[in-house]
Amino acid sequence: MMEKIRELIEQHAGLPPGAGEIADDTDLYRAGMKSFASVQLMLAIEETFEIEFPEEMLNRATFRSASAIAQAVEQLSSGSMAA
Protein backbone atom coordinates (compact mmCIF):
# COMPACT_ATOMS: atom_id res chain seq x y z
CA MET A 1 0.00 0.00 0.00
CA MET A 2 2.86 2.37 0.90
CA GLU A 3 4.27 2.08 -2.59
CA LYS A 4 0.92 2.96 -4.14
CA ILE A 5 0.52 5.96 -1.82
CA ARG A 6 3.99 7.23 -2.69
CA GLU A 7 3.10 6.91 -6.36
CA LEU A 8 -0.12 8.91 -5.87
CA ILE A 9 1.82 11.59 -3.97
CA GLU A 10 4.26 11.83 -6.85
CA GLN A 11 1.39 12.22 -9.34
CA HIS A 12 -0.91 14.54 -7.42
CA ALA A 13 0.81 16.43 -4.59
CA GLY A 14 2.33 18.94 -7.03
CA LEU A 15 5.60 19.15 -5.15
CA PRO A 16 8.20 21.49 -6.65
CA PRO A 17 11.07 19.79 -8.53
CA GLY A 18 13.54 20.63 -5.76
CA ALA A 19 11.46 18.94 -3.07
CA GLY A 20 13.89 16.02 -2.88
CA GLU A 21 13.26 12.49 -1.65
CA ILE A 22 9.82 12.02 -0.09
CA ALA A 23 10.20 9.79 2.95
CA ASP A 24 7.21 8.16 4.67
CA ASP A 25 7.19 10.88 7.31
CA THR A 26 8.06 13.88 5.12
CA ASP A 27 5.69 16.78 5.86
CA LEU A 28 4.03 17.25 2.48
CA TYR A 29 2.79 20.77 3.28
CA ARG A 30 6.31 21.86 4.20
CA ALA A 31 7.55 20.19 1.03
CA GLY A 32 5.28 22.51 -0.97
CA MET A 33 1.90 20.76 -1.35
CA LYS A 34 -0.78 23.40 -1.80
CA SER A 35 -4.43 23.15 -0.93
CA PHE A 36 -5.74 22.29 -4.38
CA ALA A 37 -3.07 19.61 -4.77
CA SER A 38 -4.14 18.10 -1.46
CA VAL A 39 -7.72 17.95 -2.78
CA GLN A 40 -6.52 16.14 -5.92
CA LEU A 41 -4.43 13.75 -3.84
CA MET A 42 -7.36 12.99 -1.58
CA LEU A 43 -9.69 12.26 -4.51
CA ALA A 44 -7.07 9.97 -6.06
CA ILE A 45 -6.61 8.07 -2.80
CA GLU A 46 -10.37 7.60 -2.44
CA GLU A 47 -10.61 6.24 -5.95
CA THR A 48 -7.58 3.98 -5.74
CA PHE A 49 -8.43 2.39 -2.41
CA GLU A 50 -12.20 2.55 -2.88
CA ILE A 51 -12.78 4.38 0.35
CA GLU A 52 -14.51 7.60 1.33
CA PHE A 53 -13.07 9.95 3.91
CA PRO A 54 -15.68 11.06 6.45
CA GLU A 55 -15.95 14.76 7.29
CA GLU A 56 -14.05 14.45 10.58
CA MET A 57 -11.01 13.04 8.72
CA LEU A 58 -10.98 15.80 6.10
CA ASN A 59 -8.33 17.87 7.83
CA ARG A 60 -4.72 18.74 7.28
CA ALA A 61 -3.34 16.12 9.66
CA THR A 62 -4.81 13.24 7.62
CA PHE A 63 -2.83 14.20 4.52
CA ARG A 64 0.32 15.51 6.17
CA SER A 65 2.59 12.60 5.17
CA ALA A 66 2.62 9.26 3.36
CA SER A 67 2.46 7.41 6.68
CA ALA A 68 -0.44 9.56 7.93
CA ILE A 69 -2.34 8.77 4.71
CA ALA A 70 -1.55 5.06 5.07
CA GLN A 71 -2.87 5.07 8.61
CA ALA A 72 -6.10 6.75 7.49
CA VAL A 73 -6.57 4.33 4.58
CA GLU A 74 -5.99 1.36 6.88
CA GLN A 75 -8.46 2.66 9.40
CA LEU A 76 -11.16 3.17 6.75
CA SER A 77 -10.51 -0.15 4.96
CA SER A 78 -10.63 -2.22 8.15
CA GLY A 79 -13.78 -0.35 9.18
CA SER A 80 -15.63 -1.31 5.99
CA MET A 81 -14.45 -4.93 6.23
CA ALA A 82 -15.76 -5.22 9.75
CA ALA A 83 -19.12 -3.83 8.72
Binding site: E55, N59, A83
Partner: protein, 393 residues
Protein backbone atom coordinates in the same frame (compact mmCIF):
# COMPACT_ATOMS: atom_id res chain seq x y z
CA UNK B 1 4.69 55.93 28.88
CA UNK B 2 1.64 57.09 30.77
CA UNK B 3 0.26 54.84 33.50
CA UNK B 4 -2.52 52.48 32.47
CA UNK B 5 -6.06 53.30 33.49
CA UNK B 6 -7.36 51.80 36.70
CA UNK B 7 -10.07 49.36 35.74
CA UNK B 8 -10.75 48.04 39.21
CA UNK B 9 -14.47 48.14 39.76
CA UNK B 10 -15.30 48.97 36.14
CA UNK B 11 -17.30 46.27 34.35
CA UNK B 12 -16.31 45.03 30.91
CA UNK B 13 -19.30 46.88 29.44
CA UNK B 14 -18.16 50.13 31.07
CA UNK B 15 -14.60 49.64 29.84
CA UNK B 16 -15.84 49.03 26.30
CA UNK B 17 -18.19 52.00 26.51
CA UNK B 18 -15.31 54.31 27.44
CA UNK B 19 -13.38 53.19 24.35
CA UNK B 20 -16.45 53.47 22.12
CA UNK B 21 -17.01 57.06 23.25
CA UNK B 22 -13.42 57.98 22.43
CA UNK B 23 -13.74 56.25 19.04
CA UNK B 24 -17.02 58.04 18.24
CA UNK B 25 -15.70 61.43 19.28
CA UNK B 26 -12.76 61.30 16.88
CA UNK B 27 -14.14 59.10 14.10
CA UNK B 28 -14.88 61.98 11.76
CA UNK B 29 -11.44 63.56 12.13
CA UNK B 30 -9.74 60.15 11.76
CA UNK B 31 -11.67 59.59 8.53
CA UNK B 32 -11.20 63.08 7.13
CA UNK B 33 -7.49 63.29 7.89
CA UNK B 34 -6.75 59.62 7.22
CA UNK B 35 -4.94 59.43 10.52
CA UNK B 36 -4.50 56.70 13.12
CA UNK B 37 -7.30 56.64 15.77
CA UNK B 38 -4.83 57.24 18.58
CA UNK B 39 -7.41 58.54 21.09
CA UNK B 40 -9.53 55.39 20.75
CA UNK B 41 -6.51 53.09 20.97
CA UNK B 42 -5.32 54.97 24.06
CA UNK B 43 -8.78 54.51 25.57
CA UNK B 44 -8.61 50.77 24.78
CA UNK B 45 -5.22 50.69 26.52
CA UNK B 46 -6.45 52.69 29.52
CA UNK B 47 -9.26 50.17 29.89
CA UNK B 48 -6.83 47.26 29.50
CA UNK B 49 -8.60 45.82 26.48
CA UNK B 50 -5.47 45.33 24.36
CA UNK B 51 -4.06 42.50 26.47
CA UNK B 52 -7.15 40.96 28.01
CA UNK B 53 -6.85 37.83 25.85
CA UNK B 54 -3.56 36.93 27.53
CA UNK B 55 -3.94 33.92 29.86
CA UNK B 56 -4.48 34.84 33.53
CA UNK B 57 -1.20 33.21 34.62
CA UNK B 58 0.61 35.77 32.46
CA UNK B 59 -1.38 38.72 33.75
CA UNK B 60 -4.32 38.83 31.34
CA UNK B 61 -7.97 37.87 31.62
CA UNK B 62 -8.02 34.92 29.22
CA UNK B 63 -10.59 36.53 26.93
CA UNK B 64 -11.50 34.45 23.88
CA UNK B 65 -12.87 35.18 20.44
CA UNK B 66 -16.43 35.17 21.80
CA UNK B 67 -15.45 38.05 24.12
CA UNK B 68 -13.50 39.98 21.48
CA UNK B 69 -16.02 39.69 18.62
CA UNK B 70 -18.85 41.70 20.26
CA UNK B 71 -16.36 44.45 21.16
CA UNK B 72 -15.33 44.63 17.49
CA UNK B 73 -19.00 45.09 16.63
CA UNK B 74 -19.59 47.78 19.24
CA UNK B 75 -16.47 49.68 18.20
CA UNK B 76 -17.56 49.25 14.57
CA UNK B 77 -20.74 51.21 15.25
CA UNK B 78 -18.60 54.21 16.24
CA UNK B 79 -15.40 54.05 14.16
CA UNK B 80 -14.75 51.19 11.76
CA UNK B 81 -11.02 51.97 11.58
CA UNK B 82 -10.65 51.64 15.35
CA UNK B 83 -12.66 48.41 15.29
CA UNK B 84 -10.48 46.98 12.52
CA UNK B 85 -7.25 47.93 14.33
CA UNK B 86 -8.63 46.23 17.45
CA UNK B 87 -9.58 43.13 15.42
CA UNK B 88 -6.24 42.85 13.62
CA UNK B 89 -4.30 43.38 16.85
CA UNK B 90 -6.23 40.59 18.56
CA UNK B 91 -5.63 38.19 15.67
CA UNK B 92 -1.87 38.72 16.12
CA UNK B 93 -2.18 38.30 19.88
CA UNK B 94 -4.20 35.08 19.38
CA UNK B 95 -1.43 33.70 17.16
CA UNK B 96 1.10 34.53 19.86
CA UNK B 97 -0.98 32.81 22.55
CA UNK B 98 -1.81 29.79 20.36
CA UNK B 99 1.77 29.05 19.41
CA UNK B 100 3.94 30.65 22.03
CA UNK B 101 2.89 29.20 25.39
CA UNK B 102 5.84 26.79 25.40
CA UNK B 103 8.41 29.41 24.48
CA UNK B 104 9.91 31.62 27.21
CA UNK B 105 10.47 34.57 24.86
CA UNK B 106 6.87 34.52 23.62
CA UNK B 107 5.52 34.11 27.16
CA UNK B 108 7.43 37.22 28.20
CA UNK B 109 5.93 39.10 25.24
CA UNK B 110 2.44 37.99 26.29
CA UNK B 111 3.16 39.32 29.76
CA UNK B 112 4.28 42.62 28.25
CA UNK B 113 1.21 42.67 25.99
CA UNK B 114 -0.93 43.04 29.06
CA UNK B 115 1.32 45.04 31.42
CA UNK B 116 2.30 47.53 28.69
CA UNK B 117 -0.85 47.13 26.55
CA UNK B 118 1.27 46.67 23.44
CA UNK B 119 -0.19 47.03 19.94
CA UNK B 120 0.56 44.30 17.36
CA UNK B 121 0.30 44.46 13.56
CA UNK B 122 0.80 41.86 10.87
CA UNK B 123 2.63 41.77 7.58
CA UNK B 124 1.43 38.84 5.52
CA UNK B 125 0.99 40.19 2.00
CA UNK B 126 4.11 40.70 -0.06
CA UNK B 127 4.84 42.31 -3.40
CA UNK B 128 4.93 39.58 -6.05
CA UNK B 129 2.71 36.89 -4.49
CA UNK B 130 -0.55 38.28 -5.82
CA UNK B 131 -2.20 38.66 -2.43
CA UNK B 132 -1.79 34.99 -1.53
CA UNK B 133 -1.44 34.77 2.26
CA UNK B 134 0.09 31.32 1.95
CA UNK B 135 3.08 32.27 -0.14
CA UNK B 136 6.21 34.24 0.64
CA UNK B 137 9.14 35.35 -1.42
CA UNK B 138 11.23 36.78 1.41
CA UNK B 139 13.07 34.29 3.58
CA UNK B 140 14.47 34.04 7.08
CA UNK B 141 18.25 34.19 6.78
CA UNK B 142 19.84 32.69 9.86
CA UNK B 143 23.03 34.27 11.10
CA UNK B 144 24.19 32.47 14.24
CA UNK B 145 21.56 32.93 16.95
CA UNK B 146 19.91 35.77 15.00
CA UNK B 147 18.17 36.11 11.66
CA UNK B 148 17.78 38.78 9.04
CA UNK B 149 14.60 39.44 7.11
CA UNK B 150 13.92 41.93 4.32
CA UNK B 151 10.36 42.23 2.99
CA UNK B 152 8.52 44.39 0.49
CA UNK B 153 5.07 44.79 2.04
CA UNK B 154 2.45 46.55 -0.13
CA UNK B 155 0.34 46.98 3.02
CA UNK B 156 1.05 47.00 6.73
CA UNK B 157 -1.92 48.42 8.60
CA UNK B 158 -0.76 50.89 11.29
CA UNK B 159 2.82 49.79 10.59
CA UNK B 160 4.16 53.07 11.93
CA UNK B 161 2.15 52.93 15.15
CA UNK B 162 2.61 49.29 16.15
CA UNK B 163 4.92 47.96 18.85
CA UNK B 164 5.61 44.75 16.94
CA UNK B 165 5.05 43.26 13.49
CA UNK B 166 4.11 39.62 12.90
CA UNK B 167 5.65 38.90 9.50
CA UNK B 168 5.40 35.80 7.32
CA UNK B 169 8.50 34.60 5.49
CA UNK B 170 9.88 31.41 4.00
CA UNK B 171 11.53 29.22 6.65
CA UNK B 172 14.96 29.53 5.00
CA UNK B 173 16.34 30.67 1.64
CA UNK B 174 15.93 27.13 0.16
CA UNK B 175 12.34 26.56 1.33
CA UNK B 176 9.45 26.46 -1.17
CA UNK B 177 7.20 29.53 -1.23
CA UNK B 178 4.50 27.83 0.86
CA UNK B 179 6.84 26.68 3.68
CA UNK B 180 6.37 29.75 5.84
CA UNK B 181 7.03 30.80 9.41
CA UNK B 182 5.63 33.72 11.40
CA UNK B 183 8.34 36.01 12.82
CA UNK B 184 7.64 38.37 15.69
CA UNK B 185 9.64 41.56 15.24
CA UNK B 186 9.75 44.31 17.86
CA UNK B 187 9.67 47.92 16.73
CA UNK B 188 13.31 48.52 17.68
CA UNK B 189 14.41 45.50 15.62
CA UNK B 190 13.34 46.76 12.20
CA UNK B 191 13.60 49.76 9.94
CA UNK B 192 10.50 50.73 8.00
CA UNK B 193 10.66 52.68 4.81
CA UNK B 194 7.28 53.92 3.62
CA UNK B 195 6.92 53.37 -0.12
CA UNK B 196 3.22 54.18 -0.60
CA UNK B 197 0.58 56.10 1.26
CA UNK B 198 -2.85 54.84 2.29
CA UNK B 199 -5.24 57.41 0.88
CA UNK B 200 -8.27 55.19 0.38
CA UNK B 201 -12.03 55.37 -0.05
CA UNK B 202 -12.69 54.10 3.46
CA UNK B 203 -11.09 52.51 6.50
CA UNK B 204 -8.86 55.54 6.32
CA UNK B 205 -7.71 55.39 9.94
CA UNK B 206 -6.07 51.98 9.55
CA UNK B 207 -3.15 53.80 7.89
CA UNK B 208 -2.39 50.75 5.74
CA UNK B 209 0.64 52.24 4.03
CA UNK B 210 3.09 50.24 1.94
CA UNK B 211 6.57 49.61 3.29
CA UNK B 212 9.91 48.03 2.72
CA UNK B 213 11.41 46.77 5.92
CA UNK B 214 14.58 45.17 7.14
CA UNK B 215 14.76 43.37 10.45
CA UNK B 216 17.33 41.59 12.57
CA UNK B 217 16.14 39.63 15.58
CA UNK B 218 17.00 36.54 17.67
CA UNK B 219 15.83 33.26 16.12
CA UNK B 220 13.85 32.39 19.28
CA UNK B 221 11.32 35.07 18.24
CA UNK B 222 10.08 32.96 15.30
CA UNK B 223 6.84 31.25 16.30
CA UNK B 224 7.48 27.50 16.62
CA UNK B 225 4.50 26.28 14.54
CA UNK B 226 4.55 26.30 10.72
CA UNK B 227 2.51 29.23 9.38
CA UNK B 228 0.53 26.80 7.19
CA UNK B 229 -0.92 25.29 10.38
CA UNK B 230 -1.45 28.66 12.07
CA UNK B 231 -3.33 29.93 9.00
CA UNK B 232 -5.43 26.81 8.44
CA UNK B 233 -6.30 26.09 12.04
CA UNK B 234 -6.81 29.48 13.64
CA UNK B 235 -5.73 32.64 11.89
CA UNK B 236 -7.99 32.58 8.83
CA UNK B 237 -11.08 31.58 10.79
CA UNK B 238 -10.28 34.07 13.56
CA UNK B 239 -9.81 36.86 11.03
CA UNK B 240 -13.07 36.09 9.26
CA UNK B 241 -14.97 36.08 12.56
CA UNK B 242 -13.48 39.33 13.90
CA UNK B 243 -13.62 41.17 10.57
CA UNK B 244 -17.24 40.08 10.11
CA UNK B 245 -17.95 41.40 13.59
CA UNK B 246 -16.52 44.79 12.59
CA UNK B 247 -18.69 44.83 9.45
CA UNK B 248 -21.69 43.87 11.56
CA UNK B 249 -20.98 47.00 13.62
CA UNK B 250 -20.91 49.20 10.51
CA UNK B 251 -24.23 47.72 9.39
CA UNK B 252 -25.66 48.23 12.90
CA UNK B 253 -24.68 51.90 12.76
CA UNK B 254 -26.47 52.28 9.42
CA UNK B 255 -29.52 50.44 10.78
CA UNK B 256 -29.65 52.80 13.79
CA UNK B 257 -29.59 55.85 11.52
CA UNK B 258 -32.27 54.41 9.24
CA UNK B 259 -34.46 53.58 12.20
CA UNK B 260 -34.06 57.07 13.67
CA UNK B 261 -35.03 58.49 10.29
CA UNK B 262 -38.15 56.33 10.02
CA UNK B 263 -39.20 57.21 13.57
CA UNK B 264 -38.82 60.93 12.78
CA UNK B 265 -40.95 60.45 9.65
CA UNK B 266 -43.59 58.58 11.60
CA UNK B 267 -43.79 61.46 14.08
CA UNK B 268 -44.35 63.90 11.25
CA UNK B 269 -47.35 61.99 9.91
CA UNK B 270 -49.19 60.34 12.76
CA UNK B 271 -51.92 57.95 11.71
CA UNK B 272 -50.27 56.38 8.65
CA UNK B 273 -47.08 54.38 8.96
CA UNK B 274 -44.37 55.74 6.64
CA UNK B 275 -43.54 53.68 3.54
CA UNK B 276 -39.92 53.60 4.69
CA UNK B 277 -40.94 51.44 7.69
CA UNK B 278 -41.41 48.47 5.36
CA UNK B 279 -37.97 49.05 3.88
CA UNK B 280 -36.58 49.24 7.39
CA UNK B 281 -38.10 45.85 8.22
CA UNK B 282 -36.53 44.39 5.07
CA UNK B 283 -33.14 45.83 6.03
CA UNK B 284 -33.54 44.38 9.50
CA UNK B 285 -34.21 40.93 8.07
CA UNK B 286 -30.90 41.13 6.24
CA UNK B 287 -29.14 42.48 9.30
CA UNK B 288 -30.40 39.57 11.40
CA UNK B 289 -28.77 37.09 9.02
CA UNK B 290 -25.44 38.83 9.71
CA UNK B 291 -25.82 38.45 13.46
CA UNK B 292 -27.01 34.86 13.13
CA UNK B 293 -24.14 33.91 10.80
CA UNK B 294 -21.58 35.32 13.24
CA UNK B 295 -23.22 33.53 16.18
CA UNK B 296 -23.11 30.27 14.22
CA UNK B 297 -19.44 30.81 13.36
CA UNK B 298 -18.56 31.50 16.99
CA UNK B 299 -20.31 28.28 18.03
CA UNK B 300 -18.40 26.29 15.40
CA UNK B 301 -15.18 27.96 16.51
CA UNK B 302 -15.84 27.01 20.15
CA UNK B 303 -16.57 23.40 19.17
CA UNK B 304 -13.39 23.22 17.09
CA UNK B 305 -11.28 24.62 19.91
CA UNK B 306 -12.84 22.26 22.43
CA UNK B 307 -11.92 19.19 20.37
CA UNK B 308 -8.66 17.66 21.61
CA UNK B 309 -6.80 17.88 18.28
CA UNK B 310 -8.28 21.28 17.32
CA UNK B 311 -8.19 20.18 13.71
CA UNK B 312 -10.07 22.42 11.29
CA UNK B 313 -11.98 20.19 8.89
CA UNK B 314 -12.95 21.07 5.34
CA UNK B 315 -16.51 21.63 6.58
CA UNK B 316 -15.25 24.12 9.19
CA UNK B 317 -13.15 26.00 6.64
CA UNK B 318 -16.05 26.15 4.20
CA UNK B 319 -18.29 27.56 6.92
CA UNK B 320 -15.72 30.28 7.73
CA UNK B 321 -15.31 31.18 4.05
CA UNK B 322 -19.08 31.39 3.72
CA UNK B 323 -19.20 33.64 6.78
CA UNK B 324 -16.73 36.12 5.29
CA UNK B 325 -18.32 36.24 1.86
CA UNK B 326 -21.88 36.39 3.13
CA UNK B 327 -21.34 39.01 5.86
CA UNK B 328 -19.21 41.27 3.66
CA UNK B 329 -21.89 41.20 0.96
CA UNK B 330 -24.93 41.48 3.23
CA UNK B 331 -23.48 44.27 5.38
CA UNK B 332 -22.97 46.36 2.24
CA UNK B 333 -26.59 45.68 1.24
CA UNK B 334 -27.79 46.77 4.67
CA UNK B 335 -25.88 50.07 4.46
CA UNK B 336 -27.31 50.60 0.96
CA UNK B 337 -30.80 49.80 2.27
CA UNK B 338 -30.26 52.45 4.97
CA UNK B 339 -29.20 54.95 2.32
CA UNK B 340 -32.39 54.33 0.33
CA UNK B 341 -34.41 54.80 3.51
CA UNK B 342 -32.71 58.06 4.53
CA UNK B 343 -32.50 59.36 0.97
CA UNK B 344 -30.66 62.65 0.52
CA UNK B 345 -30.42 63.00 4.30
CA UNK B 346 -28.24 59.90 4.22
CA UNK B 347 -26.28 61.07 1.20
CA UNK B 348 -25.27 64.29 2.92
CA UNK B 349 -22.06 64.16 4.90
CA UNK B 350 -23.45 66.47 7.56
CA UNK B 351 -26.49 65.88 9.72
CA UNK B 352 -27.66 63.03 11.93
CA UNK B 353 -28.41 60.56 9.10
CA UNK B 354 -25.17 60.85 7.08
CA UNK B 355 -24.16 57.44 5.75
CA UNK B 356 -21.10 58.43 3.72
CA UNK B 357 -18.47 57.09 6.11
CA UNK B 358 -20.15 53.73 6.83
CA UNK B 359 -20.83 53.29 3.11
CA UNK B 360 -17.21 53.97 2.21
CA UNK B 361 -15.90 51.82 5.08
CA UNK B 362 -18.11 48.83 4.31
CA UNK B 363 -16.96 48.79 0.69
CA UNK B 364 -13.63 47.44 1.96
CA UNK B 365 -15.30 44.26 3.25
CA UNK B 366 -15.55 42.37 -0.03
CA UNK B 367 -12.02 43.39 -0.98
CA UNK B 368 -9.89 42.67 2.05
CA UNK B 369 -9.03 39.17 0.96
CA UNK B 370 -11.13 39.34 -2.17
CA UNK B 371 -14.36 37.38 -2.09
CA UNK B 372 -13.49 36.03 -5.55
CA UNK B 373 -10.29 34.52 -4.20
CA UNK B 374 -12.07 33.03 -1.21
CA UNK B 375 -14.76 31.48 -3.39
CA UNK B 376 -12.13 30.02 -5.73
CA UNK B 377 -10.54 28.28 -2.75
CA UNK B 378 -13.93 27.21 -1.44
CA UNK B 379 -14.77 25.79 -4.86
CA UNK B 380 -11.84 23.40 -4.52
CA UNK B 381 -13.01 22.34 -1.08
CA UNK B 382 -16.56 21.76 -2.35
CA UNK B 383 -15.17 18.85 -4.38
CA UNK B 384 -14.48 16.95 -1.18
CA UNK B 385 -17.07 18.30 1.21
CA UNK B 386 -19.09 15.51 2.76
CA UNK B 387 -22.54 16.45 3.99
CA UNK B 388 -23.47 13.93 6.68
CA UNK B 389 -26.54 12.76 4.77
CA UNK B 390 -24.50 11.84 1.68
CA UNK B 391 -22.10 9.58 3.55
CA UNK B 392 -21.82 5.94 2.61
CA UNK B 393 -22.96 3.55 5.26
Amino acid sequence: MKPLGDVAGASLAERVQAAVEAAAQHAEAVDREGRFPIEAVEALRDNRLMGFAVPPELGGEGAGLADIAPICTTLGTACASTAMVFAMHHICLANLIDCGLESPWHRELMHRATTEQLLFASSTTEAGVGGDLRQSICAVEADGAAFNLAKAAPVISYGEETDAIFATARRDPDAPSSDQVLCVLLADQYELERVSTWDALGMRGTCSHGFRFKATAPIEQILPRPFADIAAESMIAGSHILWSSVWCGIAADAMAKAQAFVIAEARKSPGSPPASATKLAEAYARFRTIEATIADALARWAAMRAAPERAATVGFSLAMNALKVSVSTTALQVVEDALMICGLQGYKNSGPYGLGRPLRDIHSARLMISNDRIMAGAGQMMLIQRPAAARRA
